[in-house]
């Protein structure tokens, strides 16, 4: 256990058929990844419950009811169906309770991750794209579209698209969710009105909150697709136990 917790990378292990297992995800990353996944899932469902109470989005400080720029549902029954909301029946008060509870867990978990990622140098070591990777971003993009992923030694590090999307999610979308969420609070707005103004007003912040959530859902779908295409058992094992297996031999 002490080896798992230590920051020293664990050494590779040979497994059958010339394959190598290497220690990819330290315990803190694995734990915070799953706590984050749980939080985002429940925040999405309770968030849609809250949106059901007034399923229209506006731009600016206030709601011009005759001019929403986006509205959901037919006005007949809830805009978002019960199976995707939490609680699974119309309950704004309940949705808010779930949302705020898991928002706090999300923030605390995020702080643990951030402290670890910055303290351990993981951001620059693992997540920051290397110059040579950025130069070949076009090829990496083409490979991804054909669902061709790096294997062998090249799979030891994240590829450039992976790095960029993780950076965007971790340091862009997730903080944006938190900040737009905060500005919607009339209490916080009394302290942080400059932040609300930065988003173009409270109703804009609410819309940005929604679109950022939609961007996270998009990321999630691509993320799952990539896991499935790259070898779901291996990927899953690495996020549960830390160990990721790579082939060292060239394919015939």
């Amino acid at each position: 256990m002490s080896r798992v917790l230590s920051r020293q990378p664990l050494s590779d292990r040979a497994v059958a058929d010339g394959r190598i297992a290497f220690y990819r995800h330290p315990l803190t990353v694995r734990l915070t990844h799953w706590v984050n996944a749980l939080c985002l899932w429940l925040l999405l469902m309770s968030g849609l419950q809250i949106l059901n109470a007034h399923p229209a989005l506006y731009w600016g400080e206030i709601s011009r009811f005759d001019r929403p720029f986006l509205s959901f549902g037919s006005g007949d029954g809830p805009a978002f169906p019960a199976w995707i909301t939490l609680p699974g029946f119309q309950d704004l008060a309940g949705g808010r309770s779930w949302h705020f509870f898991f928002a706090w867990l999300f923030v605390l978990n995020g702080l643990v991750y951030l402290g670890y990622a910055l303290g351990s140098g993981r951001v620059s070591r693992v997540l920051a794209p290397e110059r040579e990777q950025l130069r070949h971003i076009g090829r990496s993009f083409a490979d991804h579209l054909r669902l061709r992923f790096p294997h062998g030694e090249a799979a030891r590090r994240y590829n450039v698209l992976q790095k960029l999307s993780y950076l965007i999610v971790l340091f862009g979308l997730l903080p944006l969710m938190l900040l737009t969420g905060l500005t919607m609070s009339p209490g916080m707005d009394a302290r942080l009105h400059w932040l609300t103004a930065l988003f173009g007003g409270r109703q804009s912040a609410r819309s940005v909150h929604f679109f950022t959530a939609a961007a996270l859902v998009t990321f999630f779908l691509i993320h799952i697709l990539a896991v499935l295409a790259a070898g779901p058992l291996n990927e899953m094992r690495s996020m549960v136990t830390g160990w990721f297996v790579i082939k060292t031999e060239k394919r015939p």
């Binding site: 007034h54 400080e61 709601s63 011009r64 309940g94 779930w98 509870f101 706090w104 707005d189 009394a190």
Partner: protein, 257 residues
């Protein structure tokens, strides 16, 4: 682990997760223990915001040109009781605000008397718990001035507002609208008993003749059709004990978020 047991384990996990999203979720969502755990967040929100906002942080105030053309009226839009209709018909000249409870000098204040006290005008944004916002101009007397005039007894901790409207018909009368706030909010400079909206006497849909403005919290805290206010040590014995009509129905007592 052999691949067969692994597959079975995966299947079971997927089934469990699937079950959790469907029916089980509702059972969890309705369990009292889960709900009291979730309430922890309300407590934290309350405490953290009290520290961050303090007693004095002001809600943003806007200018005349920001005022919403359509200010939505939510909840009750007309109490429509015999007593209220009679008061409304007479332009509320017979209406009096009763101030009582843990005060040194119980008061009966007419609209005229309230209007003769030093007024405050503020253009603020009203945020409904449903998610929408409107901007309106409010004129009224600061609640702190009324409280000062009545004189709080030392054990007073909350101010309760009793309203003319019944939002839900119940046998025990707990469908009557009421609200409670603590003294930090009651004494805040923007906390008004408002009698004018957008330069006109408050109309019936928006709470005539008097409504509460509590600018750092959500709309449901801002009781309309206020008939009586009371200083209390605790709100446990009002309604169903949670401190307000919507609070009795699961909403957060602290609505700063």
């Amino acid at each position: 682990m052999s691949s067969v047991t692994r597959r079975r384990w995966l299947q079971r996990t997927v089934t469990a997760l699937g079950g959790l999203t469907m029916g089980a979720c509702d059972r969890i969502a309705e369990s009292p223990r889960v709900n009291s755990t979730l309430d922890w967040a309300e407590e934290v929100n309350h405490r953290v915001q009290r520290v961050l906002l303090g007693r004095k942080a002001l809600a943003r105030e806007y200018t005349d040109k920001d005022i919403s053309r359509e200010f939505r009226a939510n909840g009750t839009t007309n109490p429509d009781t015999e007593q209220y209709n009679a008061l409304a018909k007479g332009g509320f000249v017979d209406w009096k605000l009763a101030v009582g409870g843990l005060v040194e000098r119980p008061l009966q204040l007419s609209l005229e008397e309230l209007r003769s006290m030093p007024p405050r005008t503020q253009i603020t944004r009203h945020d409904c718990v449903e998610g929408w916002s409107c901007i309106g101009k409010w004129k009224g007397v600061q609640l702190s001035r009324v409280i000062e005039r009545a004189g709080l007894k030392p054990d007073a901790r909350f101010i309760a507002f009793y309203c003319a409207d019944t939002l839900e018909l119940t046998l025990d009368g707990t469908g009557q609208y009421y609200e409670t706030i603590d003294l930090v909010d009651a004494l805040h400079p923007q906390t008004l008993l408002a009698y004018d909206m957008n330069d006109r006497p408050l109309d019936v849909p928006h709470g005539a003749p008097l409504r509460l403005r509590l600018e750092r919290q959500l709309g449901y805290k801002m009781a309309k059709y206020v008939m009586r206010i009371e200083a209390l040590e605790s709100f446990e014995r009002l309604g169903r004990g949670k401190g307000g009509y919507w609070e009795d129905r699961g909403y957060q007592w602290y609505a700063g978020i």
